[in-house]
């Protein structure tokens, strides 16, 4: 047993070694070492290097667990603490693999073949750069090659050990620690975004300064993140409950008129801000009114009246980031609404506190409010909805221009993903050429609206063209659908892949050049506007995309749970049987293609108007792959999964542009890991999850029953 465990450790260590050497030679470690996770302490490159050793140790322990608990064993044996020694072995082997790499780098020049085997990588591996000197001085082996290699092995061993120990912790604690580490890495990665979003005058600056410094987290920020995440995850299971309780207390104790007033004040404030942003100024009003009193938190009545009168007496000098002076009435109204709202909230909290104290003094449990379940649920839904809407409306103003741009890209892919989800997730038709519909939408919008006289000529407005675009793309969907009606699975995938490419080549071709502009594409596509509001810039486009996402989501959600959705589902499960059960599969296939196409066309149309210029090269196969990939990551068939998948596959890479070289590598790795670890996706639709849990047991039952009855059958007939 020990022997096989040792072998296991060596094998896992070798895997870990291969993985880290791969990461090194691909160049990831080096590129990533320019990015700090914790400023001055550890770079992203080393984080990755160390995480590999940690994960190796962890996975090794998991394998040990599997080894001592073979399948179907009734009593589970837990791996013992002393088994961590094998994780340490795995760590040592990983470390030794790296040492071999270091030696090779030292002795031979392999740069001709492997361009990333650079001197810098060498320095990084010897831990001379990219990590804090303190960390190195923990192991004072001195300078030079031998010392560096020794350090490498010791670090890997310790990390392997830590990984193994992590596995032995009780699941809840393990989860909170792992999430804590993940959160530190994530926040470190997002430091640029956070700087843009938070590091500006106002309440957010203090928060930013607390956690970040330079281009990464500060050391105190890392500790805070770790502790806070761990605390929140451990408390997580209580949160929904207390949320319900808070709402039940609010609904029971706050008089209705106060609740309604507060909600309306919030709405007024929000709407005024929106109107302000979209119609009056390009600057987004600050989140909280610019009242100095709030930040220093000496709230007093005189202060409040002062803010109000300040707000009312606007125009005032236009401070940067503050309410500008061009629309005094609106700015005053916003300030007034905000101030009243804050006052109201403060008063209600006070009121609630008083009631709470009274209640706990009387120690009569019965008196705690317990509104009827139905009412409570409704209230909860309302509050959640309201907060959700408020957050969605606020986001672009809070995060700033670049992150809004990222959100716009994510939104475009969410719309596309929802459309593709109809074709692939609901109807089960594997379409790899989905970009074709996105392209048709974009191009038809471009041709219909461009003010460039050499192409098009209709010169419609965006809204005038949109219905036509949708119809044209829907017809394109039928045209693609018709020839592939008899195809299934792989064949369908290949043929649609071809269609996607054909669409691009048609746009590129000389033949269509007069209409579509060839390789130069179509320019001068006008901006979108509603009334006087011009939707230029990502912060404003965001709202447009948000609305399209919501509409697409609504449509797909309703389709999913309907006669049409069931027919698609039946077709996905078994096309022949669906036909025999009365579903006209030909018609429903075409319908699926058309619906998918017309949803994608909206995404394409906005894309065209957003850029103002489109080229065939924007519509390559990668768009299709990404759209399909986000379905897989999110969980095929699941609508929230589309949103999560889009954030993971479009949002994250956009935020980490400097690593775009490795984007495809990460996609690939994400897909493989996804398929191995969580084939049902991050947010599986209920049914997939079910299948993967219950199926095997069913299969066993099935076999057993079939065998039994066969035996019984042969008895009776014999």
């Amino acid at each position: 047993m020990t022997n096989s465990k040792l072998k296991l450790g060596i094998r896992m260590g070798a895997y870990g070694g291969v993985a880290t050497i791969y990461l090194c030679l691909v160049g990831i470690i080096e590129t990533f070492s320019d990015r700090d996770i914790i400023t001055g302490i550890i770079s992203l490159g080393h984080t990755l290097l160390f995480l590999t050793a940690l994960v190796t140790g962890y996975l090794n322990m998991q394998q040990v667990d599997k080894l001592i608990n073979p399948a179907h064993q009734v009593v589970e044996k837990a791996p013992k603490p002393k088994d961590t020694i094998h994780s340490a072995v795995a760590g040592i082997i990983t470390g030794i693999s790296l040492v071999i790499l270091v030696l090779v780098l030292d002795r031979f020049n392999i740069r001709d073949m492997l361009v990333n085997a650079s001197p810098k990588l060498f320095e990084l591996l010897l831990l001379e750069k990219g990590v804090t000197p303190t960390m190195v001085s923990l192991l004072p082996f001195g300078q030079g090659l031998a010392a560096g290699m020794l350090r490498l092995v010791v670090f890997s061993t310790v990390l392997g050990l830590v990984g193994g120990t992590l596995y032995l912790l009780p699941p809840t604690r393990r989860r909170s620690i792992m999430l804590g580490i993940a959160m530190v890495v994530l926040l470190g990665l997002l430091s640029d975004l956070m700087r843009i979003a938070l590091n500006k005058p106002g309440w957010s600056e203090g928060f930013y300064k607390l956690i970040y410094t330079g281009r990464g987290l500060s050391s105190q920020g890392a500790v805070i993140t770790l502790v806070a995440t761990a605390a929140i995850t451990s408390a997580w299971r209580y949160i929904p409950d207390s949320y319900t309780r808070v709402i039940s207390v609010i609904t029971a104790w706050l008089p209705t008129w106060i609740r309604i007033t507060l909600a309306s004040l919030l709405s007024v404030s929000l709407l005024l801000r929106l109107a302000w942003f979209l119609g009056i100024e390009n600057v987004y009003p600050p989140i909280l009114p610019d009242c100095p009193g709030l930040i220093t938190s000496n709230i007093s009545l005189t202060n409040c009246t002062e803010w109000i009168s300040q707000g009312l007496s606007a125009p005032q000098e236009s401070t940067e980031g503050g309410l500008a002076s061009s629309a005094p009435a609106v700015s005053a109204a916003i300030t007034l609404a905000d101030s009243l709202m804050l006052l109201g909230i403060a008063a209600s909290i006070f009121l609630l506190l008083v009631r709470t104290v009274q209640m706990s003094m009387s120690s009569d449990i019965q008196k705690w409010p317990a509104p009827p379940l139905q009412k409570l649920e409704r209230a909860q839904r309302l509050v959640t909805l309201y907060l959700g809407v408020a957050a969605l409306l606020f986001i672009p103003g809070v995060v700033g221009v670049y992150p809004s741009e990222v959100l716009v890209m994510v939104g475009l892919y969410v719309v596309m993903g929802l459309g593709l989800n109809i074709v692939v997730g609901m109807a089960g038709l594997l379409d790899l050429g989905y970009v074709a519909f996105f392209a048709v939408g974009a191009y038809s919008m471009a041709v219909l609206t461009t003010v460039d006289a050499s192409v098009g000529g209709a010169q419609l407005s965006f809204w005038g063209a949109l219905p036509l675009v949708v119809v044209i793309t829907g017809i394109a969907g039928l045209l693609v659908g018709a020839p592939v009606l008899r195809m299934r699975g792989d064949y369908l995938a290949i043929v649609t892949l071809g269609f996607g490419e054909i669409a691009r080549f048609l746009a590129l071709s000389d033949w269509f050049k007069p209409a579509l502009g060839g390789a130069q594409g179509i320019i001068k596509i006008p901006d979108i506007h509603i009334g006087g509001v011009e939707f230029v810039g990502p912060q404003k486009l965001y709202y447009l995309i948000l609305v399209s996402c919501l509409i697409a989501y609504f449509i797909t959600a309703r389709l999913k749970d309907s006669r049409v959705g069931r027919a698609w589902g039946a077709m996905r499960e078994d096309e022949q049987v669906a036909d025999v059960m009365g579903v006209n599969t030909t018609a429903y296939k075409l319908l699926a293609f058309a619906m998918g196409a017309l949803i994608a066309s909206v995404s394409g149309a906005i894309f065209a108007a957003k850029l103002g210029t489109i080229y065939p090269h924007s519509f390559n196969v990668q768009v299709s792959i990404t759209a399909l990939g986000l379905l897989i990551v999110g969980g095929i068939g699941s609508l929230p999964g589309v949103v999560v998948g889009a954030f993971a596959l479009v949002g994250l890479p956009e935020l980490l542009r400097e690593f775009s070289e490795y984007r495809m590598l990460f996609y690939g790795a994400a897909m493989v890991i996804m398929m191995l670890v969580r084939p049902q996706g991050l947010l599986p639709s209920a049914r997939r999850g079910h299948k993967l849990q219950g199926n095997e047991r069913d299969q066993d039952d099935w076999m057993r029953i079939a065998a039994e009855s066969e035996a019984a059958g042969s008895e009776s007939s014999g």
């Binding site: 039946a570 049987v577 319908l591």
Partner: protein, 266 residues
Amino acid sequence: MPHLLESRRLLKDFGGLNAVDHLDFHIDEGEIVSLIGPNGAGKTTFFNLITGFYPADDGKVLFDGHNLLGLSPYQITELGIARTFQTVRLFQEMTILENVMVGQHCRGRSGVLGAVFRPPRYRAEEARIRKKAEEQLAFFGSRLGGYRLDQMANSLSYANRRRLEIARAMGTEAKLILMDEPSAGMNPKETEEIASLIGKLRDERGFTILVIEHDMKVVKGVSDRVVAMDYGHKIAEGTYENVANDEHVIEAYLGRKATREDQDAS
């Protein structure tokens, strides 16, 4: 009175092998007819021809005054024929209720616009579909009803999967249900239940039933009439006793091996 379903000289030629060979067959409204015959006799192929699964090479199938040949399977279902499969073919990743609601598909009209905007007409139709589906499932008592409605079809036991297939066929509001070996893979008790179920389907629900069955106890118990097939031909027809004692039938079942080999050799 014309027959409910009638096939005339129906032919299916699988590249030289006549799986169904100029078969004349009929079933009347309210009848329960069993189709028997050794393995490979062409029974399932006959079902596949009736339901439009395969195109026939010659002959005619008349149902309720319509010629079925040339129609698509979904059109045939709409006319009122439903079937179950020899190997269970459910919509695995749909719920039990949804499986039966798909059966109701051909009795509905609403499309994309209805689904998105949900006008009263859509809601009424959806409610009706749901009610009908629940009615069919209620026929099987607690086995498929109650809390199970929202479980995935693949969570069911084998026998219940077979029951769900029957419920789904009932859900199409067919006049005629074709069952392909409903008791295959069931234990004796379950088989008995299936037999009484077939009777109830006709007596309480008014379905006409054509059933392929290997279990002679079931055949004996349920059939008004038995038709025996071999090599795509009808070799006997009549009451259970007549057919069971028919010499062709006995020969077909006992002498199968020898003759098959003969045929293969030739």
